[in-house]
C-alpha cells in the first residue's frame, strides 16, 4: 500500500525556486507534505522533526553548502536511507561528481526538465508513475 502522506524536504534559499519546485511536486500528487527550508541550517533543524521520504537540495546556500547537507544525511543512520535529489543552477562538474559520490540519488542542473523532475520524484518515492490514491504501489 502507498503511504497516506509523503514528507518532502526542500532546502533552497530562493523563494521563487522553492515555489517552482512545490508547484511541480503538487502536480505529481496531492498527498505530499512539503516542508520548505530557506537555508541549510533550517534544513538541518527540520530533519529530526519529520520522517522524510525525499529531500531536494540546492548546492549554493549561504550557510552550509548542499554537499555538506548530503554528507550529513548520508552519514547519519537515521536519515541515510532518504533519497536525495540535487537541483542546482551550479553546473560545476566537480561539484556534481562529489555530490553523486556522497550519495545523492540524482543531480539536476537548472533549468530542469519538469517531466524529468516529476519522473524522478515518482521513482524515488516508489509511486510507480501512478497517482498514489489509485495505485497499489509496492512501497510499504
Amino acid at each position: 500500500m502507498n503511504k497516506e502522506c509523503y514528507h518532502i524536504l526542500i532546502a533552497e534559499d530562493s523563494a521563487i525556486t522553492r515555489a517552482f519546485l512545490v508547484g511541480l511536486l503538487e502536480e505529481v500528487a496531492e498527498n505530499f507534505n512539503i516542508i520548505e527550508a530557506a537555508s541549510g541550517f533550517e534544513a538541518l533543524k527540520q530533519l529530526p522533526r519529520e520522517k522524510f521520504d525525499l529531500i531536494i537540495t540546492d548546492i549554493n546556500m549561504p550557510d552550509i553548502n548542499g554537499l555538506e547537507l548530503i554528507n550529513f544525511v548520508k552519514t547519519n543512520p537515521e536519515y541515510a536511507h532518504i533519497p536525495l535529489i540535487v537541483v542546482t543552477t551550479e553546473g560545476s562538474a566537480r561539484d556534481r561528481e562529489k555530490g553523486m559520490a556522497l550519495g545523492a540519488s540524482e543531480y539536476m542542473v537548472k533549468p530542469i526538465d519538469p517531466g524529468a523532475f516529476r519522473g524522478s520524484v515518482v521513482k524515488y518515492l516508489g509511486l510507480n508513475g501512478k497517482r498514489p490514491e489509485n495505485s497499489r504501489g509496492d512501497k510499504t
Binding site: G23, G40, F41, E42, E68, V73, T89, K98, A101
Partner: protein
C-alpha cells in the same frame, strides 16, 4: 508554475539585481583604491547572478537567463581566480546589469525582447574572456593536511578559497563546536560572524558521526594569519575546540585578535569606513545586507506589496473620516441633551477610539516609511554611467541615507533626483581642463544630503561646478520674451525661469540633458508630492538644489477655512500662524497687498480673488483672517473669511480634472461628506510671489466653482 506570480518574480529579480549592483560598486571601489578584492563580495554577486539565471529560466525568461548565465560564468571564473578583474570587465558587468533590469521590466510588461538585443548584451560580455592561467589546484589540496571527509564536501569555490589561503601561507584551522538541535542556528550564526573577524570562514560542515543525541556538531574551517593559540584566545568566549590543520607562515601572528577589532586581512575593504565614498546610508544598507547573507532564515521581516499598504492606509483614512462624523454627532448630542451621562460616556468612548485610531494610523504610516538610502545606489550607478559617458570625473557623496520618507514619495523621487544630478554633471561640472584652470580639483563633486527638518524632509543636491550662469539665463529669457531687455531682475526671478517648460540654455542638445524635457518636469513631480524646489547658485563655485518634502502624504492634519463661496483645507504642516486682521491693516506696496508682521513684510493673497470665487453672502468685510504659510524666506499670508478648525484629512488626487490648476494639491472629504479642495501651499506661494508667474505668463486666475 501557477504558484509563482509575476510580482514575486519581479521582486526577487529586483533584489538580485540590486545585490549585483551593490557588490559591483564595492569591487569598483576596491579597484579604484587598489586594495584587495573581498572574496566574499565576488562570491555573493556570483550567487546573485546564479540565482537570477535560475529564476529567469523557471519563469520562461530563458533568453534573459542566458545573459545572467554569461555573467555568472564570468563571475564564477573571477571567484575561482581564473580571471582577473579589470575595470573593463567591471564596466561590462555594470552595463549588462543595468540593461538586464530594463529588459526584465520590459518583458514583465508583456514586451518582446528581440534576439538582437540579447545578442548585443552577450557581445558586451564576450570581450572579457581572457583567461588567466589555470592553476594546478589538486596538488595544493593534497598538501592541505585536510582529511578526505572534509575535502569531499567542499564545493569548487570553497576549494579555491582554501587554496588561496594556503598560497598566502595562512594558517588553516578546524574549529569544532556542538550546539543543541533547537538553538544551533542562532549560536552558529554568531560564531560564524566572529570567525569572519578573525580570518576567512571557508566552510561550515555539520557532522552526523560526531553529533550526540539532540545536538549537532559542526566543523568550521578557518583560514587566518593568526597562530592557533591566538585564534583560540580570540574564541575564548565560545565553547569551541581549535585544532591546526596546517600552520601558517612562521607559526602565525602571536597576538590574539582583539575582540572588537574590525575585520583583518581577508576582507580589507569592509573596514574602510572613512574613505571619501563612505556615507551613512550606505553603511546601513551594507550591514543590513550582511545580516541577510548570514541569518537569512532568521530574518524577521516580510516583503509586502505597496498596494496592500495603500489599501490599509485607505481603510485607516476612511476610519478617520468616520471618527470625524462620530465626533460631530457627539457634539450635536451634547448641544441638544447637555452633559447627560450618556453623552459623557459616549465622549469618553470616542476619545479612546480616537487614541487607538491615532496609534493605528501612526503604525501604518511607520510601516510605509523607508530610508531614502534605498535609492542612493541607483543614483550612484547613474552618476558612474554619466561620468563615463561625459568623460568627466565625478565623485558622488551621499549622506543621510537613513532619513525616512513614505515609500511612495521615495518611488517618485528617484527620477527627479536623477534629472537634477544629470543636469549637474552635464551643465554644472566643468571639463577637467577648465576645472584645473579655475584652480579646482580635476574630479568634480556632487553631494547629496537628506535630513529631516520638523515634519519635512530636505534633500540637497550640490555640485562644485560652474554654477548657474544668470547672465546667460537672462539673455535666453529675454530672447523668449519673458522679460524686457533692461528690466531689473532679482536672482529668484531668474531661478524661476529655469523651471519653465522648454527652457534650456544648452546650445547643443547632448545625449544627457538639454533636450528641453527639463526642470519643469522635475518641478511638476516635486509639486505633485506637495514639495518645493529651490536653487542657490554662485557663479564659478557651484549650484545647490534644495527640495523640501512632507514626510508623508497619506494622512495629514489640515486647517479648514472658508473663502468666498468655497471651503478649503490648508495642510497644517506648512501653517505657522493664523491671525485676525482689519482691512485697514493691509497696505499696498508695488501693487501687492502686504501686512507688517513682526517687523517683516508679509505678502498676502486673497483666496477668493485668487480663485475668482463669488463672495460669500453675509460675510462682514470688517473681519478677515490671515493664515501664514511657508517656511523661512518663502512665506505668504492667505486671506480667508473664516477659520473652521483643524481636522485630519486624507488627500485624494483629483486626477486630470483640474490639471494645471496651480495652488491645488488635491481634494478631501470632510466628516459631513462634503468634498473640498486642499491647497498646494508651495504652489500658491510661487504663483502669488513670482512676478513672472503672476503677471507675465498669466497663469493664476482660474474659476473652480
Amino acid at each position: 508554475m501557477s504558484e509563482i506570480n509575476l510580482s514575486d518574480f519581479l521582486a526577487e529579480a529586483e533584489e538580485l539585481l540590486e545585490r549585483l549592483n551593490h557588490g559591483l560598486l564595492e569591487l569598483d571601489r576596491a579597484i579604484k583604491s587598489n586594495s584587495r578584492q573581498n572574496p566574499s563580495v565576488v562570491n555573493d554577486i556570483f550567487r546573485a547572478a546564479h540565482s537570477l539565471k535560475g529564476i529567469c529560466g523557471m519563469f520562461g525568461f530563458g533568453e534573459v537567463g542566458e545573459i545572467a548565465h554569461k555573467m555568472e560564468d564570468i563571475l564564477d571564473r573571477l571567484r575561482l581566480g581564473k580571471l582577473k578583474l579589470t575595470a573593463k570587465t567591471l564596466d561590462a558587468l555594470f552595463e549588462v546589469t543595468e540593461e538586464l533590469r530594463a529588459v526584465i521590466s520590459h518583458k514583465a510588461q508583456g514586451g518582446q525582447v528581440t534576439a538582437q538585443v540579447i545578442e548585443e548584451l552577450k557581445q558586451k560580455l564576450a570581450g572579457v574572456d581572457e583567461v588567466k592561467q589555470e592553476p594546478k589546484e589538486d596538488d595544493w589540496l593534497k598538501q592541505s593536511g585536510l582529511s578526505g571527509e572534509i575535502l569531499q564536501v567542499l564545493t569548487e569555490y570553497e576549494e579555491h578559497r582554501l587554496i588561496e589561503n594556503l598560497k598566502e601561507k595562512m594558517g588553516i584551522y578546524q574549529v569544532s563546536t556542538t550546539f543543541s538541535l533547537t538553538e544551533f542556528d542562532k549560536e552558529l550564526t554568531v560564531l560564524q560572524a566572529r570567525l569572519k573577524e578573525i580570518g576567512e570562514l571557508i566552510t561550515t560542515l555539520p557532522s552526523a558521526d560526531a553529533s550526540p543525541d539532540d545536538a549537532i556538531t559542526f566543523f568550521l574551517l578557518l583560514g587566518s594569519e593568526h597562530s592557533e593559540q591566538a585564534v583560540a584566545e580570540g574564541l575564548k568566549d565560545y565553547s569551541v575546540a581549535v585544532t591546526t590543520v596546517k600552520p601558517g607562515k612562521a607559526g602565525g601572528r602571536a597576538g590574539a585578535p582583539a575582540p572588537a577589532r574590525a575585520r583583518p586581512e581577508p576582507e580589507p575593504q569592509a573596514k574602510k569606513r572613512d574613505e571619501p565614498e563612505a556615507e551613512a546610508g550606505k553603511d546601513e544598507s551594507e550591514s543590513a545586507r550582511e545580516e541577510v547573507g548570514t541569518v537569512r532564515s532568521l530574518s524577521r521581516t516580510v516583503r509586502v506589496d505597496i498596494g496592500k499598504l495603500d489599501d490599509l492606509m485607505n481603510i485607516v483614512g476612511e476610519l478617520v473620516l468616520s471618527k470625524n462624523v462620530i465626533a460631530q454627532l457627539i457634539d450635536k448630542l451634547r448641544n441638544q441633551l447637555g452633559f447627560s451621562e450618556m453623552a459623557i460616556d459616549l465622549y469618553k468612548a470616542n476619545r479612546t477610539l480616537e487614541r487607538k485610531l491615532q496609534e493605528l494610523q501612526e503604525g501604518v504610516l511607520e510601516v510605509r516609511m523607508v530610508p531614502i538610502g534605498q535609492i542612493y545606489d541607483k543614483l550612484r550607478r547613474n552618476v558612474r554611467k554619466l561620468s563615463r559617458e561625459t568623460g568627466k570625473q565625478v565623485e558622488f557623496i551621499a549622506e543621510g541615507g537613513d532619513t525616512e520618507l513614505d515609500k511612495l514619495i521615495i518611488e517618485d523621487l528617484a527620477d527627479p533626483l536623477m534629472h537634477i544630478i544629470r543636469n549637474s554633471i552635464d551643465h554644472g561640472i566643468e571639463p577637467a581642463s577648465q576645472r584645473t584652470k579655475a584652480g579646482k580639483p580635476e574630479q568634480g563633486q556632487i553631494r547629496l544630503r537628506s535630513f529631516q527638518r520638523g515634519n519635512h524632509v530636505v534633500i540637497e543636491i550640490s555640485d562644485d561646478g560652474a554654477g548657474l550662469d544668470f547672465a546667460r539665463i537672462r539673455s535666453k529669457a529675454v530672447e523668449r520674451g519673458l522679460f524686457a531687455a533692461g528690466e531689473e531682475l532679482k536672482q529668484e526671478d531668474l531661478v524661476q525661469v529655469i523651471f519653465l517648460p522648454g527652457f534650456s540654455t544648452a546650445d547643443k542638445v547632448t545625449d544627457i540633458s538639454g533636450r528641453g524635457v527639463g526642470l519643469d518636469v522635475v518641478k511638476n513631480n516635486i509639486s505633485a508630492l506637495s514639495g518645493a524646489i529651490d536653487v542657490e547658485s554662485v557663479l564659478g563655485q557651484g549650484a545647490k538644489v534644495i527640495i523640501t518634502l512632507p514626510i508623508t502624504l497619506a494622512i495629514i492634519q489640515a486647517l479648514v477655512v472658508e473663502a468666498g463661496s468655497e471651503t478649503f483645507a490648508i495642510p497644517l504642516n506648512s501653517v505657522s500662524s493664523g491671525l485676525s486682521i482689519k482691512p485697514g491693516e493691509i497696505k499696498t506696496i508695488e501693487g501687492r497687498e502686504v501686512i507688517e508682521q513682526r517687523e517683516r513684510t508679509l505678502p498676502l493673497v486673497r483666496l477668493d480673488k485668487f480663485f475668482r470665487l463669488k463672495p460669500r453672502a453675509g460675510v462682514s468685510e470688517e473681519d478677515l483672517y490671515v493664515v501664514t504659510v511657508g517656511i523661512a524666506e518663502r512665506r505668504l499670508g492667505i486671506v480667508v473669511d473664516r477659520l473652521l478648525g483643524r481636522q485630519d484629512i486624507v488627500i485624494k488626487s483629483i486626477g486630470h480634472v483640474l490639471n494645471g490648476l496651480k495652488g491645488i494639491a488635491g481634494a478631501t472629504e470632510l466628516g459631513d461628506q462634503r468634498t473640498i479642495l486642499v491647497l498646494d501651499v508651495f504652489g500658491l506661494i510661487e504663483e502669488a510671489s513670482s512676478t513672472i508667474a503672476s503677471g507675465r505668463l498669466n497663469v493664476g486666475a482660474i474659476n473652480v466653482s
